[in-house]
């Protein structure tokens, strides 16, 4: 599903924030990504989600060598990926419903078909009564849940979640992780960056640990779930 070999990445002309990343995420696997603040977790997730280009190394996604894929062919690949951004990235003047419906609309799903889908997922994350609220009138945790709902609504093949439980309490965090497990059972490959070591331990999945731009404990990375 995802294969990186000796991948490096830098922002603009700055120093490399990721060095010699070698990893493999098999189809249907579930990984946590941990590491101290500033280690490069968000950067690695952005690489996997096709939001940045590696500055060196070999990277392939869904079996396609990224150096050979044309720009136009990236769009269909991206439609198979769901992203939970660390800073949510909700569109402030769209309602929670419309924010969550966005990936389906971009993929051309008919309005009639997407309505129930969007409602159901917003119910799951506990926001059934906030369908019409605009993000600026939502609490931090509510915004984060809208962001999660948007990432999973299109049932992506690959889900990349950056600190998806940083603004919710432990009970809600567990509930959201269970949603991720549900998706995983249906075949979605997951990689979830988190600071919550306890949560990661609780789920007993493969843990990738980043330290100053380099992956530690490489052995664990190869262990598919």
């Amino acid at each position: 599903m995802v294969r990186f070999e000796n991948v490096g990445m830098r922002y603009g002309t700055g120093p490399e924030v990721l060095r010699d990343i070698t990893l493999r995420l098999d189809a249907g696997s579930f990984h946590f990504l941990t590491g101290p603040s500033g280690a490069g977790k968000t950067s690695l997730l952005r690489l996997i989600a096709l939001a940045e280009r590696p500055s060196r190394g070999l990277a392939s996604l869904f079996g396609e060598d990224l150096s050979r894929v044309t720009r136009a062919d990236l769009a269909p690949l991206r439609r198979k990926i769901g992203i939970v951004f660390q800073d949510f990235r909700l569109i402030p003047h769209l309602s929670a419903f419309d924010n969550v419906a966005l990936p389906l609309r971009v993929a051309g799903v008919a309005e009639a078909k997407l309505r129930d889908n969007v409602r159901e997922i917003l119910e799951w994350v506990g926001l059934a009564d906030k369908l019409d609220a605009k993000p600026p009138t939502l609490s931090g945790g509510q915004q984060q849940r809208v962001a999660i709902a948007r990432a999973v609504v299109a049932r992506p093949k690959l889900l990349v979640a950056d600190e998806p439980t940083g603004n919710v309490d432990d009970a809600m965090a567990l509930r959201l992780m269970r949603l991720f497990e549900e998706l995983n059972k249906l075949g979605t490959t997951l990689i979830v960056a988190t600071h919550n070591a306890a949560l990661a331990r609780q789920f007993n999945r493969s843990v990738l640990h980043l330290e100053d731009g380099e992956l530690q404990a490489a052995a664990a990375a190869w262990a598919a779930s």
Partner: protein, 296 residues
Amino acid sequence: MSAPGPAIPFGRDGSSRFLPALTLLMVFLAGLALAAVMDLERALARWDQSLTGTLTVELPAATGATDKSLDAALAVLHDAPGIKSATAIDRDATAKLVEPWLGTALSPADLELPRLIDVRLDVSAHADLAALRAKLAAAAPGATLDDHQLWLDSFARFARSAEITAIAILVLIGGVAVMSVAFATRTGLAVHRDTIELLHLMGARDAYVARQFERQALRLALIGGVAGLVLAAAALLALSQAANAVSLLGDSVTLLPPLHLRGWNWAVLAVLPIVAGLVAMATARITVLATLRRLP
């Protein structure tokens, strides 16, 4: 990709109010400028027509201009094609024309004044002046035909430079208006950079993303443009009322143009909001595509 879904609205971030407001101002200004130019064109054309439509035939007194040769000249003129009317100016009227130079004490009878004929041409049918000149010379020896060529030449120069100036002003205002609308559209989009990246990462194709913003820009500029046009039309009607009121007071020498726009003039004005909309739309498209090209 087939169903575009509801557009992503520009936010209440100022841009959704600013683009229409600026477009309103620019269409208003451009509308007045365009109306002024079209009106000037018409005034010049009418002026041109009233001049090119007249000739003066002169039968000098020294050649012994008699009523007979006057009649002969009139007959030639009445037969010639493309001539609307030919009227002899009577002796008293001719004397009045010379009066400033000769004083009133001298009676017209004392002088052998030349006889003048005022000729009005039918401007739609082009009269052959060379042929007419020859025929007149034959019928009434010594008759000369004054087609005001000198006056016309300098008038043509004047009209040409008036036109150039007016068009230069129009182009200038138009250029500023187009650039302002383009700038306003770009500014409105600056706020939406994150949204553009978000759609891109969701796998939306460039054309789809561009379309979302194009549509909004078109809509907002059209709203502002139509409002600006309505304001401009109101101002033009008010001006034309004012001009009529002034001319009723007998003040016919006025630079305030008469402002009688015809149907097609209004049609040309109605194009302005459409131009504004297209400028906004094209700018939105270019800006969004440029933003997208910078993303991987």
